[in-house]
Symmetry: C2
Subunit: 436 residues, 2 copies
């Protein structure tokens, strides 16, 4: 038996530790991203955890193939022309591992120049591209920002089950499976559970996977995505939820600016500025788009994607905002737990948030009263008994409450200016794709 001390051994240095070591000989590890042979020397790009570092190797140094993993012994040499103020002059390369064969897709150019299908089929290598991986470093930053903000507002983070007996959204868009002889479903959202937990902690959030069996084959739909959900009690109106989300977005944009500058610069991201987010009712929005663009309104109950884009154009022109809250969606288009507007049962105390023309959030106030909820379910001809477990919280007392869900990949997509949500999903799942 031997003891472990619990001190982390670092045999090699992190890139961040090099700046203070001009003149020293150091060891750093990483992957050989790219070799550019010049006259008498080579540029060697080393891919480390977060940065691709330019190093210089004299002709005498034997260079391993790209995607080899190595430990470099190198001198840190002052170099005012380099962004970092230094460069690494390689003295020795210890090869730790070598690829079996080169990747069929070139990954070490500025862009991975291939179809989206190839990009995704070879995801485990195409993600090694400097810009491709920066997308997901930023996505980490987005979650970090959301989480830190919600923590600061006394939200408790929870983990709710993804195997469920009853779907939250209802409808056919739900994956079913055999669970030891009974039918189970994959959760379409943590809706029921986050509401239950409002009765416990008042404010809760979860960042986790949700599953939608939708057959849509579009640039904005996925069958599995990461949902950022929060739910809060003791609200006075659903507008407080929009206030909270606005605060969360502001905080997160500032967080990215502070801690993810490298990636923002690499991807040339222009972060939106949020001062105030304009609010329009669904009805106003429909009419505004119809009026401004001379479009007849064909569906008074829902937006077409084209209308969302046109609304964005309108709002941006009028206010300069890239976000817009649309409120009071028709009751017929919202789930059974949506709180209807007092005095007008046709609409709900609900909202969507559109960002650069795409819906990224759905939220609203929920029914907290047992009698009101049961009455609404009966009105919708639902089988109340199937929801017995859900309704227990209403029965035994709930505060006024509401919340929202934000699609992480959609938000990342619009923030970084991509046209297809697959670019900002680590390993996307759609009706054609279950691998890698």
């Amino acid at each position: 038996m031997k003891g472990l001390c619990g001190n982390i051994i670092n045999n090699e240095l992190e890139v961040e530790e090099l700046a203070g070591r001009i003149g020293e000989v150091v060891k750093v590890h990483g992957s050989i991203y790219k070799v550019r042979k010049m006259k008498g020397f080579s540029f060697v790009l080393l891919r480390t955890k977060r940065e691709v570092m330019q190093c210089i190797a004299e002709e005498a140094v034997v260079l391993p193939v790209e995607e080899s993993t190595v430990i470099l012994t190198a001198k840190v040499v002052e170099e005012p022309r380099s962004k970092k103020g230094y460069e690494l002059h390689i003295q020795e390369i210890e090869v730790l591992s070598e690829p079996y064969e080169p990747s069929p897709i070139v990954i070490n150019q500025k862009l991975v120049d291939t179809s989206i299908e190839n990009m995704l089929d070879y995801r485990m290598v195409t993600l090694r591209n400097e810009k491709q991986r920066a997308i997901f470093k930023l996505q980490e930053g987005i979650c970090q920002g959301f989480r830190r903000f919600l923590e600061s507002q006394n939200f408790t983070e929870i983990h709710t089950p993804k195997l469920v007996q009853t779907g939250a959204e209802g409808g056919a868009n739900i994956f079913a499976l055999n669970y030891f002889g009974q039918e189970a479903y994959l959760a379409q959202s943590p809706q029921f559970y986050k509401q239950m937990m409002v009765g416990v902690f008042e404010r809760v959030f979860e960042i986790g996977p949700v599953f939608r069996a939708e057959k849509h084959d579009t640039s904005r739909h996925l069958n599995e995505y990461t949902s950022v959900d929060f739910e809060m009690g003791y609200i006075h109106s659903f507008e407080e939820i929009m206030e909270m989300e606005t605060g969360m977005l502001k905080f997160t944009l500032a967080h990215l600016q502070e801690y993810y500058e490298k990636e923002l610069e690499l991807l040339q991201v222009k972060l939106p500025v949020i001062e105030e987010i304009p609010v329009v009712t669904f009805h106003e929005a429909k009419e505004m788009v119809s009026r401004e663009f001379g479009r007849p309104i064909t569906d008074m109950e829902d937006f077409e994607p084209e209308e969302e884009k046109l609304l964005y154009e309108c709002i941006y022109k009028k206010t300069g905002s890239e976000f817009v809250f649309v409120t009071h969606y028709p009751s017929s288009k919202r789930p059974f737990y949506a709180m209807e507007t007092a005095g007008n049962e046709e609409v709900t105390e609900s909202f969507d948030l559109l960002f650069r023309g795409l819906e990224i959030t759905t939220g609203g106030q929920r029914i907290h009263s047992y009698e009101m909820q049961v009455e609404k379910m009966r009105r919708r001809e639902m089988t109340v008994e199937l929801f017995e477990s859900y309704l227990m919280m209403h029965k035994y007392g709930m505060p006024l409450h509401g919340g929202m869900g934000l699609g992480l990949e959609r938000f990342t997509c619009k923030l970084l200016g991509y046209e297809n949500v697959r670019y900002t999903t680590l390993f996307p799942r759609d009706i054609h794709r279950l691998t890698p």
Copy 2:
């Protein structure tokens, strides 16, 4: 159209803000947890986000039923006998909502005195018990500790798909479902994906759900649980993974001590002290238990749960440690991607971490070489072609790497001294339970 300012409205004060307001009249909201009528006045316990606050109401104040949600108008009165140094004298109670009927289970005593079945059937109310909910506040703290530590060690947080085409662990313990006409599975672990991401970010982690279709009906098995996974590249030996986990646990225990003192006190948790974690090989451990307790060894390839408990007793007696790393598990019991020990193919560069006699972590070094991996799969008579997508990372180059997975609910269970992992799972899923 109107503008939202994005400033969070707080109509009522947080408990944390009261200490500085002795003598003032304040508003606080919460749920009426318990009313105790005394002679001439009542004690009213108000359940707020994180604390249950004792308030005093004169006889004249009309008290709502328990589990009503309210806004109290109250005076903050200095009271040296109170832990907080003050108490709240209620002047007015505004009732926001009332329960439809009282909970059939008493939730406002020190303990929820009922069977575990009832406890779970009425989870949405039993979690409102002060101690019950403290379990999950601490669980939040555990995740927060893990996450902050891993961030400090330059790990990138990722979100990997739970719908997969190939299971990581293999075997029959996997949930299957129909995915648009093809068979899909629920991920048993993020194993393949976290390995792929080591080739991208070098160090990654994920905290998310995993699914096991095991038919075990024990106090330590669940069919869905939260797995804390990390994976790191450029290791020199699998012991660095144990070092990293030791560091993570130390950090997290200190984090709980600093930020979750309230809950630790309420649940009377005695945190373990980690100085060094003892390490024994699987072979040594089997022999140690056999020798110390005079038990014949019946299975040289695996531990019985009873043996894990006896090993804990041994190690605790010898070293005072409540944790023990067991290393070099037999190759036959480890997955195909486990790195075998050089010179002894019978055992692997792997470990389990046992805490108070229960396995909470499995980890180890993985095979990084394409040829070695394919050779091992052939040796195991696996269909290599089925793993084409997984093997691409090996083919195009991978660093030496390894990682671990920790069961969040099991760790919480042992940390808080429970005997059944269901007590430390928010909404447990087992072979009999899919609801609530």
